[in-house]
Amino acid sequence: MIIDQLSIFLNNAVGRITEVTSTLSEAGVNLKAFTLSESSDFGILRIITDNNEKAVEVLKANYFAVNVTKVVYMELGDTPGALYNSIQKVSDAGVSIEYMYAFSTGDAASVVIRTEDIERCNALIEEV
């Protein structure tokens, strides 16, 4: 399915991630997934939360540069080959993946995919 992900631009400074997490925790927002990609002087923190509206509101109020990005979210059985089957469909169709990240919750795994063609990627994955 297509869901919203929040992307937060962060200076490469000690404690900046702590400030994001404390802002969200004070607002009672729960983090479902979390990944950080970084260049030499800034990072983009990507998060999926249980309350995006609230998260955006408190982050903006605290002067964070945050924006909302559409991503494809899927749940897979936590078994060998589960990811391969889905990803193969996407790559066979010529949809290129900008980035993805995954997290396992024990017996299931969740995968987040960002591509230029969200609708198509989602359709391909839902066919599986």
Partner: protein, 428 residues
């Protein structure tokens, strides 16, 4: 006034002021004696090049009263420069000096199209800084209504700007930009409906054409330069006209020259160099051939507005502000104009120069406009590469660009501080 008549007037006034300073100020007497020039050698404005220069250091060395020409009983006001590098420069004004200063500012306001029907919001700092009271007196001289706002307290600035219907804004261009951003972010203020500003008189720091475009579009105004300095009098030594094609200098009061800052010789008319002023009417603290450190050029052609008074091009920087990085001369204003050429950047910047293992480091922090902080790292890295390439081609050396979070770079409400040079040079 045609230029021949103007030259006569300048000559007459120069002869008087040289005699006046020689008679009343020991500093000038000593300097002229050292240079072997007598007041009687100065017969016309062409003789000005015989006179010795003075600089900021002289005003500091003779602090506080050493360069005053009028007795304290005739001095009615002091102003002082910020003095971040030691003792401040203290200027003393007689009532005539204040009247002439106000006249200079009023001429600028008139050139911007202001009349007694205008309401001027003066958001320069009031106090020792000449900006606040200078603009204030000039506005009153014109007969306009003056709101002595001073700097700071941005929300109140916006509130009164709206409620009183201010039509003119006087402040530094960087503070104007900050106000413009604050207005844009204020949900209760609609720039079209609530703000009545028509023009801005921006000065006290160098700014660029790009900044003008930005201020004009954000504040829906015409943005004009006002030029001046405490040592010469204050803001209103000159100002732009409706054609925004150079800053007219009121050279019947403040005589400008351009010299080569290295050889100290006057340059050919129109050539670039350091601006030097002689105050032709000042009584309190006259200056003779004062080196401003501002780098610019003068345009003597008659302006389309009809004014014959000389125009000054944009200030390209200060010979003081010039940084020598890896042997290359770098002006902050050059960096600023490169940044403003790329619309994704918001124009804020901060330069840090250091020396690590005998090599100069050159780092520039920049911010993006809010909508360009995206999820797409490649796009942001591309912007960084574009700016780096632009700066390399203009400056000849390569800075390290850092895109930082919005509002990370400190906004100034007075003169913008854009540079931190951490290099420690010995033997200086």
């Amino acid at each position: 006034m045609d230029r021949a008549k103007l030259r006569e007037l300048q000559s007459e006034r120069l002869v008087k002021i040289v005699k006046y300073t020689y008679d009343n100020v020991q500093f000038y007497r000593e300097r002229m004696d050292e240079a072997g020039v007598k007041p009687s050698d100065i017969k016309s404005i062409d003789d000005i090049s015989k006179l010795p220069f003075m600089q900021k250091k002289d005003l500091r060395d003779y602090y506080p009263y050493g360069t005053f020409a009028a007795p304290l009983k005739d001095i009615v006001r002091f102003h002082a420069s910020s003095g971040t590098t030691g003792k401040p420069i203290v200027a003393g004004y007689t009532q005539n000096d204040l009247d002439n200063w106000a006249e200079g500012v009023a001429r600028c306001l008139t050139a911007y199209g202001a009349t007694k029907d205008d309401i001027l919001q003066v958001s320069y700092g009031y106090g020792l800084f000449t900006g606040g009271l200078g603009a204030h007196d000039g506005g009153q001289k014109l007969g306009a209504t003056v709101l002595p706002m001073s700097s700071g307290n941005t929300s109140k600035q916006i509130m009164l700007m709206k409620d009183l219907g201010c039509t003119g804004l006087c402040c530094t261009p960087s503070y104007a930009l900050f106000l413009a951003e604050s207005i844009a972010e204020d949900p209760d203020t609609d720039i079209e409906k609530d703000i009545k500003l028509k023009f801005g008189a921006f000065g006290a720091e160098p700014w660029t054409e790009n900044m003008r475009k930005e201020l004009e579009s954000k504040l829906r105004i015409k943005a004009y330069d006002i030029y001046g300095l405490t040592e010469v009098s204050g803001p209103g030594v000159g100002g732009e006209c409706e054609y925004q094609d150079g800053t007219h200098l009121w050279e019947d009061m403040f005589y400008p020259e351009i010299i080569d800052p290295v050889t100290l010789q006057p340059v050919e008319p129109g050539q670039q160099g350091e601006l030097v002023f002689t105050t032709l009417l000042k009584e309190g603290m006259p200056v003779i051939r004062y080196r401003t450190r501002d780098l610019t050029h003068l345009i003597y052609d008659k302006c389309r507005c009809g004014r014959t008074m000389v125009r000054m091009g944009r200030i390209l920087g200060r010979s003081d502000d010039m940084m020598i990085i890896r042997g290359v001369n770098v002006f902050p204003s050059t960096i600023e104009s490169c940044i403003l050429e790329i619309p994704e950047f918001n124009g804020q910047y901060f330069v840090t120069v250091d020396r690590v293992k005998n090599v100069d480091t050159f780092d520039i922090d920049v911010e993006l406009r809010p909508e360009f902080y995206t999820d797409n790292m490649d796009k942001m890295l591309n912007l960084k590469a574009r700016l780096t390439m632009r700066l390399v081609s203009v400056l000849g050396i390569k800075p390290v660009i850092h895109i930082v979070e919005p509002n990370t770079i400190a906004r100034s409400q007075g003169k913008a501080k854009h540079v931190l040079d951490k290099r420690q040079f010995k033997n200086e």
